[in-house]
Amino acid sequence: MNETNKELLVKYITGSADESEKIQVEQWLDEDPVNRDYYIRLEQVWRDSLFAGEGGKAINTDKAFGALKEKLGLEQDELAKSGLEKEEEKLEKEAGRVIRVRWYWAAAVIGGLVLAGGLLRYGGNKRGSGEEGSIAYARTIQVSRGDKKRILLEDSTVVWLNAGSSLRIEKGFGAANRNVFLEGEGYFIVHHDHKKVFTVTTRDYTIRDIGTVFNVRTYSADTRFEAAVMEGEVSVEGRFSGNERASQIILSKSQVLKINKKTALSPGIQTAPTEVSVNESLVSVARAAHIESYGGWKDDQLSFDDDNFRDITNKLERRYRVTIRIEDEQLAKIRYTGRFSRIPDVEAVLDVLKETTPISYDRKGDTILIRGHK
């Protein structure tokens, strides 16, 4: 992104660009989503700056409330009458009396409130934020089922969040740290910064990275934790396979780590954790031929990689916003590998699954019952 482009962009934002410059800028914006993200940032800053105090159109809450009060007829005497009339029609006398008493109290308090508000405005104010340039408070972003979101973080990292996921951005993210907490699935394009490690904490494992592209799948309802690296290298830390001490696995490009938590269908039945080393079946690191397919969901691809049936139905539930009940415990043994591109409804997926797995299904509204069949 060179300076000339940026200057034209600023001209465009501030309303000084002529027609040909506008066209140039719009072409440039269409070229690359990075340009678009930058534009949005600057546009936001431009808009926010309008509210700067002297010289700007400062927000005057007092004035605004005064105007609204008038409009709604919230002047003391009027409200006392109309409010009471309404209340007495609807409520018991008892409640009516409460409102009346409250109103007299309120009349006295409003005077105090306005005064307090004035004091706050001129008094000193403690900044709630941490370091300069970092977020003053934690934020959580949630994605509902059937949906997905793309987020640009303060450090220029891009995160895609899959259906039914949430990402908590910790306080101080930006200048103080680069810590987030993930429940669900996220595809991370981490902005390179060797001074600050980007850390994704999940329920069981922590992923650390400096500047890399990777996908993490860590839904609590699933039986598998999965991390796939598209570019660069990450480290995954935690207690693997029931080991007492935490250890670390380094994943490099095109490698995928799978940790299977349970092998049974119903949560009640669990195989006892056994001592297994990293290379055995519960925890596996493998090179994947099509590593990008692990992030395919952000392009509406549906992909199963030796997933067990519980995880498969979980994925379908989140993606298509349905409820799936598995009637036959035997189905827990089924595993499936395959990829689907942009299939709009869940029945189409199930029809394909039916061809190679012994299932049959029935749909009633938003609930699907799956049975085994001989």
Binding site: S49, F51, G56, T61, A64, W105, Y137, I141, L152
Partner: protein, 187 residues
């Protein structure tokens, strides 16, 4: 005096004007800042937010708050802003993308903690005052007096190229120093 969300909802339903005023003073400014991200001018933002409060008061006995009063306020403002945008005759790219993202995703993200309006506007003011002198003068003429580049060049006796460069520097510096205030638009 602080009201929990439950107390605020109950107070509203009961027609308690103290609660209503408390809600207004607590959320008005941040809702305006939020709305201003969608709409081009502060007046529009303030109108929409005032309307939202007016409706809140008028329908107070009928509203069911599915999340919280705060969620209702932000959600309503969001909805009204998108409507206003959709009725705009001329829209720039930013506004088009806002509409598209609003159609694709559900509720916009709402910060967990309340932005404190006084801090926010003070931060913005300070960031502007911290700009280098020439840069700041140019920025203020553009932002607060709506001057076009060639007008600024004439007023300050500078070349148009200088104005272009300084404006770029201004926005870049402001973006850096106000990074912590940018709630994200999610696409």
């Amino acid at each position: 005096m602080e009201y929990s969300d439950k107390e605020a909802a109950e107070g509203l339903k009961a027609g308690d004007t103290v609660v209503f005023e408390w809600l207004f003073r607590k959320y008005y400014a941040q809702l305006c800042l939020y709305a201003n991200r969608f709409l081009a001018g502060p007046q529009n933002a303030e109108e929409i937010v005032s309307e939202t409060f007016a409706v809140l008061w008028e329908k107070k006995d009928r509203i069911q708050f599915s999340h919280s009063v705060r969620g209702y306020l932000f959600g309503t403002v969001h909805h009204k802003c998108i409507n206003a945008l959709e009725h705009l005759k001329v829209r720039n790219r930013y506004e088009e993308w806002l509409i598209t993202s609003a159609r694709q995703s559900g509720q916009d993200e709402i910060p967990e903690q309340d932005l404190i309006e006084k801090e926010m506007t003070r931060d913005i003011e300070k960031a502007i005052e911290d700009l280098p002198e020439k840069c700041r003068q140019i920025f203020k003429l553009s932002r607060f007096e709506q001057k076009k580049y060639h007008e600024i060049a004439a007023i300050l006796q500078l070349s148009p190229k200088t104005v272009e460069t300084q404006m770029r520097i201004a926005l870049e510096k402001l973006r850096q120093s106000l990074r912590h205030l940018l709630t994200l638009f999610i696409w």
